[in-house]
């Protein structure tokens, strides 16, 4: 058990590309830290540098009270779970789990109780004599976990351990990983591109983009106060709606112009974001979470905070009703939104579309259906505002 400290860590490849730049993170003893970001953001490279599988070009890495920059992987007292599981195909489950202990010169007598205990925890006892080829995906994943657990290392490193499982199993294993790490209390660094995994597992979540750390915070903090448009768009499902708008001070009343609509904004926003005063009259990007858009037909709402639009698509999930519509406002196009679109597998928008797609999360009692004219009440106290040029949050 140990804390892990990254100080200005950087990774430069021989051809000059920088995978990770100036990454500083302090991971407390027993903490579960999730590194999240779109593919190519450097999260896996960062993890591999902690593991010792990748050289560290710049900065200092400490595990416990040792600087381990030059310590080989086998001596760092860390265990890793690979995305591919990387089980030894020629060994059965028992030997796969016990492999690390055997390499460290442990006797069979000492190995057996430890392997059996781990197998018991993971429900693998009846499969101990089977080879990986005859195991299901979930069982293989457990063996990979067992191989890390049996060594009782100071740090677990997990590189997208759930991404090869189907959706149902992923949820189940996610809970299991959470349980195991909490019970063992081992410091864990977990890499994923799935923001749901990040939110549910992490004590803190570090969002990375193009080798640069964007924000580290507890999941709720990250969700409520993203530092920039990238984090705002990446964390949360569905992603935060981003539209262009202009705030004005209308004789002591704060107003927001969205296309032809002019909404009255709750004064509370100015109190939580005093920095907004400097942006009055300037084009900004306004962020609205789907749950901050309600069906005005259900509860009474101030006429001044209601948008009207045509519902283009509704998705009833039972617990919620997602309503897709668009506003006659130019879509926000920036490096951030392009990257987010790419990550979501959508075509990045090159030209400025003149409408912006928006998703609202209505109560399931809402009767809105595709094609209906809908009234959407905006919870203006909970708006997010970003600088249109830098993408930084205004607060």
């Amino acid at each position: 058990m140990a804390e892990v400290a990254l100080a200005e860590i950087g990774k430069r490849y021989a051809d000059g590309t920088r995978a990770v730049e100036n990454l500083s993170l302090q991971i407390a003893d027993g903490e579960f830290l999730v590194l999240v970001g779109p593919s190519g953001c450097g999260k896996s490279t960062a993890l591999r540098m902690i593991a010792g599988l990748e050289d560290i070009s710049e900065g200092t890495l400490r595990i416990g009270d040792r600087v381990v920059n030059r310590v080989p992987a086998r001596d760092r007292d860390v265990a890793m779970v690979f995305q591919s599981y990387a089980l030894y195909p020629h060994l059965d489950v028992y030997d796969n789990i016990g492999f690390g202990l055997r390499l460290r010169g442990m006797r069979d007598k000492e190995i057996a109780p430890r392997v059996n205990a781990v197998a018991d925890t993971l429900g693998l006892t009846e499969h101990l004599r089977r080879r990986p080829a005859s195991l299901s995906g979930g069982q293989r994943q457990r063996v990979a976990m067992g191989r890390a657990m049996v060594r009782e290392p100071a740090v677990y490193l997990m590189d997208e351990p759930l991404s090869n499982l189907d959706a149902k199993l992923r949820v189940q294993m996610r809970a299991e990983i959470g349980r195991i790490t909490r019970r063992t209390g081992v410091t864990t660094v977990y890499v994923t591109h799935d923001q749901t995994e990040a939110m549910t597992l992490g004590d803190r979540v570090a969002v990375m983009r193009k080798g640069l750390l964007q924000q580290v915070a507890a999941p709720q903090e990250l969700y409520d106060n993203p530092v920039n448009m990238f984090v705002a768009g990446f964390i949360g499902s569905p992603p935060m709606n981003l539209v262009e708008g202009v705030f004005t001070d209308d004789g002591g009343v704060l107003r927001l112009a969205l296309g032809e609509r002019n909404l009255r904004v709750d004064d509370a926003l100015l109190h939580t974001k005093p920095g907004l005063r400097a942006y009055l009259g300037r084009r900004v990007v306004v962020g609205v979470r789907a749950e901050d858009l309600r069906d005005a037909a259900l509860d009474r709402a101030d006429e001044d905070t209601v948008l009207t639009a045509e519902a283009e698509l509704t998705e009833a999930l039972g617990s919620d009703l997602y309503v897709h519509f668009s506003l006659p406002v130019p879509a926000v196009v920036s490096e951030d939104t392009r990257e987010l679109a790419r990550d979501a597998g959508a075509e990045p928008q090159h030209e400025r579309a003149d409408r912006t797609a928006v998703v609202a999360r209505f109560s399931p009692r809402s009767t809105a259906r595709a094609g209906d004219r809908i009234s959407v009440a905006v919870d203006t106290a909970r708006l997010h505002v970003f600088d249109a040029d830098t993408g930084r949050s205004i607060h």
């Binding site: 599988l53 080989p72 890793m80 599981y85």
Partner: protein, 306 residues
């Protein structure tokens, strides 16, 4: 509100009725198909017989007396199987020179195979998985060596061995075989090792392995099919070699191929010695081949990653 219940029952077929297969093909296409597969079978059978005939002939001839061999062909055994005898083999067991050279073949082949496999696997691991400057150029150089024909090296090597004082010894023959076996061995194994998922080696590294441990405990077991194939090839190649033996071995250190040729040159009618000798020299590689052949097709990697 109405509920649709599917009341259709699948058509049942009484037991004992042949199931109707896929849609019937026309008579012509079936005939052509049948003819095609028959033709292939015939060709394969003919090729097999062609291939086997000399071997069977040799085996039968080695079991006949000299008198029979010089008067009638081996195929007469089909009508007179009772004339077969093990006398030739008994005589062979008393023939010092043939037994000695058969033993020499073992002395040459086993180390030549073991050394090539061991050195080749070690080098292949290094070239595949250890990073060092000039690695790729070294590999290109080794691949280039594959195309160097044995013949161009014979005279320089003979001179080299002469000046080292090992010319004519079994060690010289082994050295030559190892030197010429290694480039291909390294090439084959390196490519196979590279195909092992990198994650496996990294997992072993995280588990506490150093390079040699990873090599021995992960790469060797997984690479076993390739290593077995290589060992068979190298074994057969060295066992059947005549050229290298002719150049580098004195008659005292000569392998069986060399001695059989001597016998043939000196007494060409000497079938009672050449027959069993040649057959014995063939049996060993066949045994080796059949013992290891299952490794050719084994998919050992299944289930390791993903």
């Amino acid at each position: 509100m109405s509920v649709d219940i599917d009341t259709r029952v699948p058509d049942l077929v009484p037991a004992g009725v042949a199931p109707t297969g896929p849609p019937r093909r026309s008579l012509v296409s079936r005939l052509v198909g049948r003819l095609g597969s028959t033709a292939v079978n015939v060709v394969v059978a003919v090729l097999g017989v062609f291939w086997l005939a000399p071997v069977v002939g040799l085996a039968v001839a080695s079991l006949r007396t000299t008198a029979d061999n010089s008067s009638t062909g081996w195929w007469t055994v089909l009508t007179e199987p009772s004339r077969l005898t093990l006398d030739n083999y008994a005589a062979l067991m008393r023939n010092e020179s043939v037994l000695h050279s058969l033993w020499n073949t073992v002395l040459i082949t086993v180390p030549s195979t073991v050394l090539v496999v061991v050195l080749g696997a070690l080098a292949a691991y290094a070239l595949a998985w250890i990073e060092f400057p000039g690695r790729d150029w070294l590999f290109v150089l080794i691949v280039a060596l594959i195309v160097v024909p044995v013949q161009v090296a014979i005279i320089p090597d003979a001179k080299l061995f002469g000046s080292l004082g090992v010319y004519g010894s079994i060690a010289a023959v082994i050295a030559f075989h190892v030197a010429f076996g290694l480039p291909f061995a390294i090439f084959l194994l390196r490519n196979f090792f590279l195909a092992i998922p990198k994650d496996l080696l990294e997992a072993a590294r995280m588990d506490g392995g150093r390079d040699f441990t990873i090599f021995r405990r992960v790469v060797l077991p997984i690479g076993w099919p390739a290593i077995a194939s290589l060992a068979i090839f190298q074994f057969l190649w060295v066992w059947n070699d005549l050229l290298v033996a002719l150049v580098f071995a004195t008659s005292d250190n000569a392998p069986i191929t060399y001695t059989l040729r001597e016998q043939m040159r000196a007494f060409s009618s000497n079938v009672d010695v050449i027959g069993p000798g040649a057959f014995l020299s063939m049996v060993v590689p066949l045994v080796v081949f059949f013992a290891f052949q299952r490794y050719f097709v084994q998919g050992v990697l299944a289930g390791s990653v993903k």
